[in-house]
Amino acid sequence: MYRYMLMVRRFNERMLLLQRQGRIAFFTESNGEEACQIGGAWPLNRGDWVYQSYRDAGMCLVRGVTLKALVDQLMGNADDPNKGRQMGAHWGYKESNMVSLASPVGTHIVQAVGTAYAAKFKKDKTVCFTTFGDGATSQGEFHSALNFAGVFKVPVVFFCENNQYAISLPFRRQTASENVAIKAEAYGFEGVLVDGNDVLAVYKATKAAVDKARSGGGPTLIEAVTYRMAGHSSSDDPNRYRSPEETEHWKARDPIKRFRAYMTKKGLLTEQEDRAMQEKVENEIVTVIKESEKVPQPPVTSMFTDVYAEIPWYLKEESDELTREGS
């Protein structure tokens, strides 16, 4: 777990750097949310499905997505399993059942309910897990998703990473309810509040919800309370709307620091091991970046595939014209 947390943090830092250097166009970090990421993904089986959000690099890693596949996506190169079709951090990895996400906030939450319905229908033991932010709870699809999940009692776990902000909007102005977890009552099932900076607590809460779902107990809404330590995305300047004091307050609660302290105290990690691990992770990332940067961009004709299963006549025409005459 600790290794993954470190990996995400380093990954975030490196990617932001790449973005600042103009080597990738866009990135959404998850600094501060590593405990949610790793603790949340940990209890899931390989066959379980995840409808993710754009901060879930950590979950991808836990679910077996390679670092290279992540960097390829950020670069939108020819190796990206998504064929360079999306902005950075809009991951999708079929092999790891990490469903491709869209930018419009919230649409995936209700899709997760459909997948859970299908799993139940097929009598599979699959659990469907979906993550989203505090802001997403204001969208209509959050409402539909929880309502449908309650009515159909499907094996879904709703995992809200309440990082206190939706871009610049603080949580207390996103909704007047005390917290997110309480909203589950409106849909007839349980809501659970958990300290999102405590990886073991997140693991425990998620494990319980996943087990419950798998054994036919229906949906759960988990709210992991955490903090977005960085900007909303590489295009954002959080100093416009929040104070350094607030950021400092949460920095002291950094989930990685906390876990490290815990591990050290329990004698599970020495300073030396820690440093070695950090170095190793760092090297892995740097190596991958170099590799990914060698990969060319997707071929021009790839623009016309995957709109449909087969290319229709008019796209064939357009593709041919482009090949013939240039763009």
Partner: protein
């Protein structure tokens, strides 16, 4: 061969395909015990049970979103939206996800599903039970848009829709649900997506239409016939992709085109057809391409009869094209 109306054809086709394919599920509002407000799903709950014929809460984004999630996991949902006018709460799901899932994931996550919905006027439904906004969908790459105009085509197209690997918006002209009966073969057949139907041959004027207006255009063609204007009537059936070949072949022959649809004219799908023709068949044209369409107002209630293009209005344009 049984003689069926369009609702019966739809109903039977859903039933047959559900029997054939255990992954097929239906979902929507009032489609179970109630059999759908137009009775298109009548009897299916009894045969297939509530897990395959799912009455949903009143939420269109829920319906389409849930169907997408089902489809990704390997089910083949057919979602019913009670009226096309009520699809807009799900417009985000349709435009942002349904249409783009395959593309954005580099082909990893195709969505195979059908959205059935009644559309068009003629039942005195006013602004919100009458709209024909097919152009919203034809302007959305990734979607297939089909619309039958008779029971036979309804079966053949719906079969194709349910077996299509792509998401299909299946528009059913509600005012033709019970007005035409036709022989519909009991055996399995399908009509290919992207192929128009040549309803009537003629060499003076090409009349292009689809869905609810096909019947009205038939009447217009008959009226024109009395004036010795031989009209070639094309029912597009498939709007996206559309059958340009059939259109151009006809235009080459006639040199005169009228396009008729029920939707408001401005930015209606007729504009696209017109633009395609003038881009590609300019030299064949012997008259301006004319459009007969709903007026550019919301769909009215009391004046519905005046709003809907009549055979006479279409005839006037046919004449105008012919005499140009």
């Amino acid at each position: 061969m049984p003689s069926l109306n369009m609702v019966q054809a739809v109903n039977g086709t859903l039933r047959d395909e559900m029997r054939r394919n255990g992954n097929m599920v239906l979902l929507g509002e009032d489609i179970g015990r109630n059999g759908g407000v137009f009775r298109a799903t009548e009897g299916l709950l009894d045969e297939f049970g509530p897990e395959r014929v799912v009455d949903t809460p009143l939420s269109e984004d829920g319906i389409i979103g849930m169907a997408i999630g089902m489809a990704l996991y390997g089910l083949q949902p057919v979602a019913e939206i009670q009226f096309l006018d009520f699809i807009y709460p799900a417009f985000n799901q349709i435009v942002s996800d349904l249409a783009k899932f395959r593309y954005r994931s580099g082909g990893q996550y195709p969505v195979r599903m059908v959205v059935r919905t009644p559309y068009g006027g003629g039942i005195k439904g006013g602004l919100y039970h009458s709209q024909s906004t097919e152009a919203y969908f034809t302007h959305t790459p990734g979607l297939v848009v089909l619309t039958p105009s008779n029971p036979y085509d309804a079966k053949g197209l719906l079969v194709s829709a349910m077996r299509s690997p792509d998401p299909v918006i299946f528009l059913e002209p509600k005012r033709l649900y019970r007005t035409i009966k036709q022989e519909v073969p009991a055996e399995d057949y399908s009509i290919p997506i992207g192929k128009a139907s040549l309803v009537q041959e003629g060499d003076n004027v090409t009349l292009i239409t689809w869905g609810p207006m096909v019947q009205t255009c038939r009447e217009a063609v008959a009226l024109a016939g009395r004036e010795n204007i031989r009209v070639e009537l094309i029912d597009l059936r498939s709007l996206l992709p559309f059958d340009l070949e059939t259109i151009l072949a006809s235009v080459e022959k006639t040199g005169r085109v009228v396009i008729a649809h029920e939707a408001a004219k401005i930015s209606g799908f007729g504009g696209e057809i017109s633009a395609q023709i003038s881009e590609r068949a300019m030299d064949s044209l012997r008259a301006p391409i004319l459009r007969v369409a709903g007026y550019d107002t919301p769909f009215p209630y009391a004046l519905e009869k005046v709003y809907l293009p009549s055979p006479e209005r279409i005839l006037r344009s046919i004449r105008k094209a012919y005499n140009y």
